[in-house]
């Protein structure tokens, strides 16, 4: 079987605008879905869930969210960590206030609350752009972290100032808390990730996505052709913050279980997500996943190679890990500024002509 679209004729506009225009891609996608839903839950253990799959899925949601705002709508944000904190604390307050409600609702409502907060902090984008907007969102980052540290109501007046996820269930299975099993947590995150990625794809291929991209590419021309910059920018902030809020809620409730705000949602988290979308590819759904995979898997891989393979001391390996990941990021940006998504696209172009490139 050869990777190309020849012979795969499109006879309707519906077929022409499908997500995977090449048959082999469609098969690969469905195979991946079957493996992820029907195979992985039976073989997953705690190590794989905690070290690889859960962080990958959760960061992929956050990267999708930031990519909608920065990659599609062109509004730079350094407040991702702060917005994830909003999602986490909203989920915590909801989980403790309504213990009988299934956890899915807590997570989704936490996302909605984050969307409102994101819109409020997106208001300056109507007047400022570029670096200045980045600084404004940076203010959001520091303000939100400060707020969750200073106001005891947010952490239910606990002595440590931390928030702990109590056990909450979905269809009778524990999703959060110490008793939650790896397959249940994995499936919960997987379903949300797939659903949100699908929504992101739908929004970016239709008229909303075109409004965002028009604002990104040339805001004056966008306004001349009838795009209201107010609604376009604020909808981008709302959708993006919803995604990021859900990611924050999952990171706290399902993955970490206990969180101290400055540590889990500090400025370094904002940069981490920003690196993900830059390395993965701005304005690309696939790029969000690729970037998240790169930033999550690379440290794990390096640790395995350096500590287990070469027998180095753990602390030495940890330092080297920072240096190698940093160097890789720079190398990447020099050789392929459009990220992994662009590499993937080029590989596919080459593959389509293989084995006769001329």
């Amino acid at each position: 079987m050869i990777y190309r679209e020849a012979g795969d004729f499109k006879t309707s506009y519906r077929e022409d605008s499908q997500t995977f225009p090449i048959k082999l891609d469609r098969r690969a996608y469905w195979t991946l879905m079957v493996v992820a839903f029907a195979v992985v839950p039976f073989v997953i253990n705690d190590y794989w869930a905690n070290a690889v799959l859960l962080p990958f899925l959760i960061y992929a949601i956050a990267a999708l969210g930031l990519n909608i705002l920065t990659g599609y709508a062109g509004q730079v944000s350094l407040g991702t960590g702060g917005f994830m904190a909003v999602g986490a604390y909203a989920a915590y307050k909801l989980m403790t206030a309504f213990p009988d409600v299934p956890i899915l609702f807590h997570v989704l409502i936490a996302g909605a609350i984050t969307a409102l907060v994101g819109m409020a902090f997106g208001l300056p984008s109507l007047r400022i752009k570029g670096f200045y907007l980045a600084v404004a969102t940076l203010a959001a980052q520091f303000f939100l972290v400060w707020l969750f540290n200073k106001v005891p109501w947010f952490f239910n007046y606990s002595a440590s100032g931390m928030i702990n996820a109590p056990e909450r269930t979905m269809f009778g299975a524990a999703i959060t808390g110490p008793e939650a099993s790896a397959p249940a947590r994995y499936l919960f995150c997987l379903i949300l990730t797939v659903a949100l990625a699908w929504i992101a794809r739908n929004l970016t291929r239709g008229s909303v996505g075109r409004k965002w991209m028009a604002i990104r590419d040339m805001d004056i021309a966008a306004e001349i052709i009838g795009v209201n910059p107010l609604t376009a920018k604020l909808s981008a902030f709302a959708v993006s913050s919803f995604f990021i809020g859900v990611a924050g809620a999952l990171l706290f409730a399902v993955y970490l279980g206990a969180v101290e705000v400055g540590e889990a949602f500090g400025i370094q988290k904002s940069f981490l997500i920003l690196f993900m979308i830059i390395i993965g590819g701005l304005g690309s759904i696939f790029g969000s996943f690729a970037g998240a995979a790169f930033m999550v898997l690379m440290p794990v891989l390096l640790k395995n190679v350096l500590v287990d393979g070469f027998g180095w001391a753990t602390d030495l390996a940890a330092h080297f890990q920072f240096m190698i990941v940093g160097a890789l990021i720079i190398v990447f940006l020099v050789f392929e500024p459009h990220g992994l998504a662009q590499l993937w696209r080029l590989a596919k172009e080459k593959l389509r002509l293989w084995p006769f490139p001329h």
Partner: protein, 273 residues
């Protein structure tokens, strides 16, 4: 001789020119101490090709920007389809049915040709955020419906082969054509073209002229254009406004304008003694 003051009349090549669709009354536009446009009045009639000409710095582009709502004049009134325009943002003007192209192309470079032309229909796409998030059903139906309209325009302007190409990769002449396609996709009542032939060679100019005439003829779109190439302007337009230093110095058919002494002076210069 056709009576051009009548409510509507038929031109020599058989097009029907209707009543006044847009009227500018005593427009004055200032930037600080500089008066870009001074007390200019003219009208645009339905179905006609109206040109604005004048030497560099005469205020033509400013005039177009006033019509498209980008500049708000300090004095004067803008009437469109019998209603006086209140203070409006450019996107509201677009929703009233005025589309435009730019002197130095303003396309969305990161998007494909098809997506660029589809943005022209944004004012007509009504599906909400929630329906679009789910896609299947209303959003997809609307998308396909508008795609069909857009494909007709892509056919019309002969840019089928490049519909999936990112606009950033296209040569200048094609970009101009894509920009025209985007403006046409909005099915505007009034189409403003700011120097549609700037920087083109003779062949490209001929192509563009043919497209402008075809647009006017087939869709009956009213067109107001700015152009420097006198040959093109005189051939294409039904009526011409001539501006110089922010003032109107001539208005009429190409023949009238050509023989107007003030216009000749403005273009050829006049001896000061």
């Amino acid at each position: 001789m056709t009576d051009m003051n009548a409510e509507s009349y038929v031109t020599e090549d058989g097009r029907t020119i209707g009543g006044v669709i847009m009227e500018m009354k005593n427009i004055t536009l200032r930037f600080g101490g500089v008066t870009a446009i001074q007390d200019i009045s003219f009208d645009i009639r339905e179905g006609e090709i109206r040109a604005i000409i004048g030497p560099n710095g005469a205020g033509k582009s400013s005039m177009l920007n006033v019509i498209s709502g980008f500049y708000v004049p300090q004095e004067g009134e803008v009437w469109f389809r019998g209603r006086r325009r209140a203070k409006m943002r450019p996107y509201q003007v677009a929703r009233q049915g005025i589309a435009r192209t730019f002197q130095n192309i303003a396309l969305f470079e990161g998007m494909s040709v098809l997506d660029n032309v589809m943005t022209g229909r944004l004012t007509r796409m009504k599906t909400g955020l929630a329906a679009q998030a789910l896609w299947f059903g209303r959003a997809e139906r609307e998308e396909i419906e508008h795609r069909e309209k857009v494909e007709k325009i892509i056919d019309f302007l002969e840019i089928q082969a490049i519909r999936k190409t990112p606009v950033g990769r296209l040569p200048y002449g094609l970009k101009k054509r894509v920009e025209l396609a985007r403006a046409l996709a909005a099915e505007p009542a009034l189409l403003l073209l700011d120097e549609p032939m700037a920087g083109m060679n003779v062949e490209e100019k001929e192509d563009m002229s043919r497209f402008i005439l075809d647009v006017n003829d087939e869709f009956g779109t009213t067109i107001c254009l700015i152009e420097h190439d006198m040959g093109v302007v005189m051939d294409l337009s039904d009526r011409v406004v001539v501006m110089d230093y922010g003032r109107k110095i001539g208005d009429g058919t190409p023949d009238e304008v050509r023989n107007n002494q003030a216009v000749i002076d403005a273009y050829l210069g006049v001896a000061h003694d």
